[in-house]
C-alpha cells in the first residue's frame, strides 16, 4: 500500500512539474521564471502581493488557488442576481433534445 501511495505521489509530482512544458508546447518557447518580482515601483496591495511572491511561492500559490474560485463565484453570483432581477428562470431548462 505504501509503495502504491509513493507511486501516486511521484506521478502527481511529475505531472505538476511538467505541466508548463506541456501547456507551452502549442504556444511557443517556455520563458524564464521570474524568481524575484520587482516591488520597488509598487505601492499598497500590489507591493504586498509582490512581496508575498518573493517571500514564499507556496503561500502565494495557496492564496491564488483560494482567491480565483472565490472571485469567480462572487462575480458569477452578481450576474445571477442581475439576471434573476430581470426575470430569467435560472433553475430549469425546457429544451429537451439531443
Amino acid at each position: 500500500m505504501k509503495s502504491v501511495v509513493q507511486k501516486v505521489v511521484l506521478v502527481l509530482t511529475t505531472l505538476w512539474l511538467s505541466a508548463p512544458y506541456a501547456f507551452a508546447a502549442g504556444g511557443g518557447d517556455v520563458a524564464p521564471i521570474v524568481i524575484v518580482a520587482d516591488s520597488r515601483k509598487l505601492t499598497g496591495v500590489m507591493a504586498w502581493w509582490a512581496n508575498l511572491y518573493n517571500e514564499s511561492h507556496v503561500y502565494f500559490t495557496v492564496l491564488t488557488v483560494i482567491l480565483i474560485p472565490v472571485i469567480g463565484v462572487l462575480f458569477g453570483v452578481l450576474a445571477d442576481i442581475v439576471m434573476h432581477f430581470v426575470g430569467i428562470d435560472l433553475k430549469s431548462r425546457d429544451l429537451a433534445e439531443h
Partner: protein, 351 residues
C-alpha cells in the same frame, strides 16, 4: 490616460486593463456556451495586450478555473452536469495528460516538438469539424427521409450514432449515468478521457475543444450535458493548472482577477444562452469555432515552410481569432437576450 494601465506586479509589464475585461467577457461567453476553457483564444489575446507567452498561458489557466466553476454551477442547476461521469473521466484525463506531457518532453529532446504539435492539432481540428458537419448533414438527411415517408420527425434523433456501437461493449464494471441517460461500460468514458487527456497534454491545451465533441459522439451525451460535464472537467484541470503555474511563477494573478470580472459574468450569459438554443444549434456554432481555430493554426504553420510570410500570417491569425471571439460572443449574447425576452413575455402572458 495612465489610469487605464496597471503595472503587473510579477511580470513587471504595464497592461491595458479594459482590454483584459473585454477579452474576459468574450471568452467567458464562449466558454460557458461551448463548455471549454478557450486557451486557443485567450493566449493570443493576452499576448497582444503585452504579456510574455509564459505568463499568457499561466494567467489564462488561472482565470479559466474561476470561470469554469461559475459555469459548472449554472449548468448544474439546469441539470446539464453529470458529476458521476465527470469524476470517472478525471482518472483517464490525469493519466492521459501525464503521458502526453512526457511525450512532449521527449519530442522536445529530439527537436521536433513544434511541427509535430501543429500538424497533429491541424489534423485533429479538421477531424472534429468534419465530424460536426457530417453529423448535421446526416441528421438533416434523416429528417428529410422521415418527412418523405410521412413519419413524424424524432426530436431526439441524432445524425452520427457511433456511441450506440460503443454502448454495446459490455466490459464490467457497467455504469448507469443518469443525467446523461447512458448505460455503458466504465471503460468507455475512461478510455475516451484518457485519449482526450493525452491529446490535451501533447497539444498544450486544456482539452475542452476535444472533450466536448468526444462526449457527444463517442460517449453519447446529449449536447447540453456534454457542455456542462466538460466544464466540470475544465474546472478541475483549471484549478490544478492554476496551482501548478502559480507555484512556478507563471501566473499574473492581478490580470487573472481583472479578466475574471468579465469572464465570470460572461460565463453566466453563455451558460444561460444554452437554455434557448437547441443542441444542434450549439453543435453547428461549435463546428464554426473549430473551423476558425483550424484556419488560425494553418496560418501559424505557413511560416515554417515560408519564413518570409511570418509577419503577415501572424497578424492574420490574431485578427481571425479575435474576430471570431467577438463574432461568437455577440451571436451568443444576442440569442440569450432574445430567448430571455421571449421567456419573460411568456411569463407575463401566463399571469
Amino acid at each position: 490616460m495612465d489610469w487605464l494601465y496597471i503595472l503587473m506586479p510579477i511580470a513587471g509589464v504595464k497592461i491595458f486593463w479594459p482590454g483584459l475585461i473585454i477579452l474576459g467577457i468574450g471568452v467567458g461567453v464562449i466558454g460557458g456556451f461551448f463548455g471549454m476553457g478557450g486557451a486557443w483564444m485567450v493566449t493570443p489575446g493576452l499576448n497582444i495586450l503585452g504579456f510574455p507567452m509564459a505568463f499568457a498561458i499561466g494567467t489564462d489557466i488561472a482565470h479559466m478555473a474561476g470561470k469554469s466553476l461559475i459555469s459548472t454551477m449554472r449548468h448544474g442547476k439546469f441539470g446539464n452536469v453529470d458529476y458521476k461521469l465527470g469524476c470517472i473521466m478525471i482518472i483517464g484525463t490525469v493519466a492521459g495528460f501525464e503521458i502526453g506531457a512526457q511525450m512532449i518532453m521527449w519530442l522536445e529532446r529530439i527537436g521536433i516538438v513544434g511541427p509535430v504539435v501543429r500538424w497533429m492539432y491541424l489534423v485533429l481540428l479538421a477531424l472534429i469539424a468534419w465530424m460536426v458537419f457530417h453529423d448535421v448533414a446526416v441528421k438533416r438527411r434523416k429528417e428529410r427521409e422521415a418527412v418523405a415517408a410521412g413519419k413524424e420527425v424524432d426530436k431526439l434523433a441524432t445524425g452520427i450514432e457511433w456511441h450506440k456501437t460503443f454502448h454495446k461493449i459490455k466490459i464490467p464494471p457497467m455504469v448507469h449515468l443518469k443525467v446523461a441517460g447512458i448505460y455503458c461500460s466504465a471503460w468507455l468514458p475512461i478510455t475516451v478521457s484518457f485519449f482526450t487527456g493525452w491529446l490535451a497534454g501533447i497539444l498544450g491545451i486544456g482539452g475542452g475543444l476535444i472533450r466536448m465533441p468526444a462526449l457527444i459522439y463517442l460517449v453519447g451525451c446529449p449536447t447540453h450535458v456534454a457542455v456542462g460535464t466538460d466544464l466540470f472537467e475544465v474546472m478541475i484541470s483549471g484549478l490544478y493548472g492554476a496551482a501548478s503555474y502559480t507555484f512556478k511563477g507563471r501566473v499574473e494573478l492581478v490580470a487573472a482577477i481583472v479578466m475574471l470580472v468579465g469572464a465570470a459574468m460572461g460565463a453566466q450569459v453563455g451558460s444561460v444562452a444554452t437554455k434557448y438554443i437547441k443542441g444542434y444549434g450549439i453543435r453547428i456554432a461549435f463546428g464554426l469555432a473549430v473551423v476558425g481555430c483550424l484556419i488560425s493554426v494553418l496560418l501559424k504553420l505557413i511560416p515554417t515552410y515560408f519564413p518570409a510570410t511570418y509577419q503577415v500570417t501572424d497578424v492574420m491569425a490574431t485578427v481571425l481569432i479575435l474576430g471570431l471571439v467577438a463574432a461568437m460572443s455577440v451571436y451568443i449574447t444576442v440569442k440569450m437576450v432574445q430567448g430571455a425576452k421571449q421567456e419573460i413575455a411568456a411569463k407575463k402572458g401566463r399571469v
